[in-house]
Symmetry: D3
Subunit: 242 residues, 6 copies
């Protein structure tokens, strides 16, 4: 039988690195198949540095962004699929939604990561999450492509947006990524076009590390240096509360 898998739905081609790179590297290390679907390259709205180079076309920017994302995914140990739906604004036709349903059915992910449900700075982000959830629901439906194996109820998490409070995003889950931090940092450094964010997201990881430490308590043995924050959207089902 196949092993466990995880799915990341990323609005633009760099989001999965800043926001879920640690989760990808950590679960890869723990034997998961890790897959990222990038809905767009972020070619219009998140490639300012490339556009300022001059002599640019949309195709050149997309190619550069794709190459960066592939290198980062490679470092993290993830497969990456690009749907090339355009950005600013992202629009997701039903054909693309159905492609995402196929990914769910084929991958059978144990959990899913995507954006916050609100983001006043970026409407592509909540749309990506909406689509990630809608595809999951359709993938559960027995009447969709009957005969295929339906998916169960993989937990859905919202990874950290840029300005958390404005996005009404609340981290109810901290993932300790200390042991894979170096890998995440190397993946981050693939994003040549957004170098100003390297230190920003390093500080994010340090802050979340301090907070994670506080949330296990000072009596806990575990040392945490770096963490990623997640908002779990779906309820947990468990046999123990500790």
């Amino acid at each position: 039988m196949a092993g466990k898998a995880m799915l990341v739905v990323s609005a633009h081609s760099a989001d999965f690195v800043w926001r879920a790179g640690g989760a990808i590297a950590l679960h890869k290390k723990n034997g998961y198949r890790t897959k990222v679907v990038c809905l767009s390259f972020g070619e219009r709205g998140e490639s300012a540095k490339l556009w300022r180079k001059g002599e640019m076309t949309i195709e050149k920017v997309k190619a550069a962004r794709k190459e960066e994302a592939e290198r980062a995914a490679d470092i993290l140990g993830a497969e990456v699929e690009f749907l090339d739906l355009g950005d600013y604004p992202l629009r997701v036709p039903d054909e693309a939604l159905m492609r995402l349903v196929d990914v769910y059915r084929e991958l059978q992910p144990a959990f899913v990561l995507s954006h916050s449900q609100k983001d006043p700075y970026n409407f592509d982000h909540p749309l990506a999450m909406h689509v990630a959830q809608e595809a999951r629901i359709i993938a559960q439906a027995e009447g969709h492509n009957p005969g295929q194996k339906v998916v169960g109820a993989p937990p859905v998490y919202a990874f950290e947006p840029h300005q958390t409070e404005q996005c009404e995003w609340m981290p109810n889950t901290f993932l300790d990524i200390t042991e894979v931090w170096d890998t995440k940092r190397r993946a981050i450094e693939c994003m040549a076009g957004q170098e100003h964010l390297w230190e920003y997201y390093t500080r994010v990881a340090l802050q979340r590390g301090v907070q994670a430490k506080r949330n296990i308590g000072i009596t806990a043995a575990r040392d945490i240096q770096y963490a990623e924050g997640y908002q779990r959207i779906t309820p947990a089902v468990t046999g123990e509360l500790a």
Copy 2:
């Protein structure tokens, strides 16, 4: 070294049975030390049937409620301590708060259960949760009784109130109590004074069982018949998201 422990802070002497009886029985079975602190006996506000018997005094009602609670705790496998602070309204002086701090320090619970943070039908309930949280914070403070072992950061959960939506209570955690359901039902039946609630909370357990099953997905092997819903208040810190 001592094993794990759990703490339940119950506003009235029956709340821990209806709302957390499954969690107590299950963790007891799994080797936990389980302790309940009842802030009051619910002698004024939750003993209507006893009062209707006639010839009643507040002391007789308290004695009857205490005896019921002790029998239920015995069945569930819990220690129970009564602070006898009065109900309708419950008032918690700082001395009682400090007694609760002592319990935290002595018990070192791995997690804590108490009421919802809002309850328009019963102001004693949110006060009990407030006190449970405040005592936890004080128990963490190194300057409180220096020399004692401080507590870490035990997760806090709100168990299910009577009218969940009015209480703005959201179950983000379902605990499968199928294997201890019979024990919980026997404990429930100790509550002779509130017989009208026996079937009510049996139905609650069945509904939460159906929902828990749905939240692990139809592809999951685990069969769940009965569950308890909890709202985890404090963030989780984890090394895996599945």
Copy 3:
């Protein structure tokens, strides 16, 4: 002059039975014209049992679902109209919206029932409510098909979703359905494809009955066994507060 009427906008062909069957039967009994519009048959996402029979096609499933819904509507005393817009995902083109506007204009409902405004388990549900509200607004516009009689401001209620708290649904209105419960139960039993939900929604009716009783107070004479919960979305206008 015509009598009173009520309208139910149901995403899938069984929703109106589980969630508003009591309201339909009760108002029918009280002389209302009762009409249900089913936006889809729930053929892909809510017909698992049918699909597992084998030898199924989408048309067969739709026909089976239609037949079940018609029988249930017949028992409840409702007219039912099927828009056959597809499910998982439901999509509502403007033509369908305008058909719904026509229904409002023709029916002149005294109130409208539809789904909760949020449902993370089912995106078809909030869309149905959105469409029910949008059609109501258009039906109020004097410039839409001038010459037709516009509608007034029929109150809008959200009926009970499957997992209420996750849907942020709050029952601010309980409808006593004790006298029509047997009728509702018979309608429920038409839903052969979702037999696992019969007892679930029977328990829902019992729980809401207990809560309704509590909300009129123990001093009230009225005995309530079964109730349906509703969230009134629009304000009430009244001449008395009791």
Copy 4:
């Protein structure tokens, strides 16, 4: 058997006039016994004009405020009881709470009116509502003064605060007070110390009148000129949804 009654819990001695004067006059007209409990006179925080007269003492201000309130209550047809607990800040000892419980038991109100649950401009207001709710809960408890008749579950409404949106107050109920507007206006004019508010609350009544009209729809026959807005806090239990 006694007729119906209503209860208003007013933080300061003028609040019941601005915020619930229409409800009092209307229900009085309809045969209700109407009672107001004023927790304080608003002598420190809501009597600016009186203080500016010079030669004032706290006792003189209280006497003046009491006299104004009594005249207004008389016009509206209400009994009024003053607990004289002080204002800015209002503090409510348990003895005062128990006096309010006695009022509930004696009055057996069909519904209760008090302040919004939040008010960043005035902390006395939400405290008054808290106390109104807490007293109601205690009055329901069979173990409180056994032998007395307990109260049922009278609906609780929050009347309109000064700056509604800041108070997170939402009018889900509009009361048509057109027929008693003149009476309310006369009662308002008793408040010589706050003349600047006369026109303010007349405009409030007009605005709520327009909104009430809109919420019954342009097709409704009822003409509404003046209304009061209320936020119903407790659920309704009903036999009809129209």
Copy 5:
């Protein structure tokens, strides 16, 4: 270099007058270029009086509404552009969105005004705000029409809806419009088709004036008679907190 500019995105052709007329007149007086984009004429849903005249066609209503809006804009000192997208329901194709992006790029507004983010009475309103925000985000993207000057981060404000509390709209900013009130009133009087709203919005301005006065405190010298309320959506960046 060009002076400052402001942008108003109005769902229907009268909204900018009732809701932002004071802001337009005031900033015009202070040297701003002021531009309004009307997404529709409100020809179907907000022209009841015109339709009742008889002999009406959609084109005649649009012409009448356009003429009213142009006269009002003229009085206020605003340029106005009509996108004629239809109303009840408003639909905004991407071409219209891109036209709005062009307006942002050309105008380089210092701030933007549009509708509340929720309005259960009117779905065109939140859509207008959504589009106003989405266009702003696209206008910031360097990859959209590279070579054009991108826009900065103009603050976004929601102006006052008709029933504020139902719209969950909160005025966190009051604009003193006393000195331009006469101008606003004259603009309001251009709206012959909605005469019933003239006094309504005059009272709104008076109420907001009283509230604004209260929020600067009675010790402040500034006298405020009329104000408009706004909800600032985007954070402020400042060098001083007073």
Copy 6:
């Protein structure tokens, strides 16, 4: 006449440094009188390092904390007053509240800074904010110590808590503290007992700096390196929206 003043209400003796040190230094530089009221020394709950030294008493810890706070206040240019009310739990008797009212009356602050209104990690924090607001309201009352000059309506801001999202704190105002950052850092370094927080709050200032920059837009000339985030609680009243 005296110049402008600002007031900070700090639950523990270090809070004003981490959370408002930049605002203090900046406004001091701009000519403000700056005053801090520390309700407690944080001697029990925020002095872990001191307690671990051994040979400690509560008086020694308080003295050490006081000395640190005074040095930090001196660097920032603030007066500091200690109410010594105890911590974990903080309790505020009405006498202390009245002392704070006196401070308001004497200082006549142009604005006030205190904690977030919710903090599940620390109940002393929201209590401090509550008291800061309640004292402000009392200081506005003409009947409190008649003859004294009342205060106006100084804006209230919540400064940044440790775990912002858990506290439901939203920064709607960013203060550029770049020019005083060195001063704030020196004040931070006075807190010898909490050295682990120096880098944490340096990173906070850097992150808020990046966000502030983003919220003025990339076209703005102003360069911002360090910022503090604030949640403005009270509405702004203004003559211009830009």
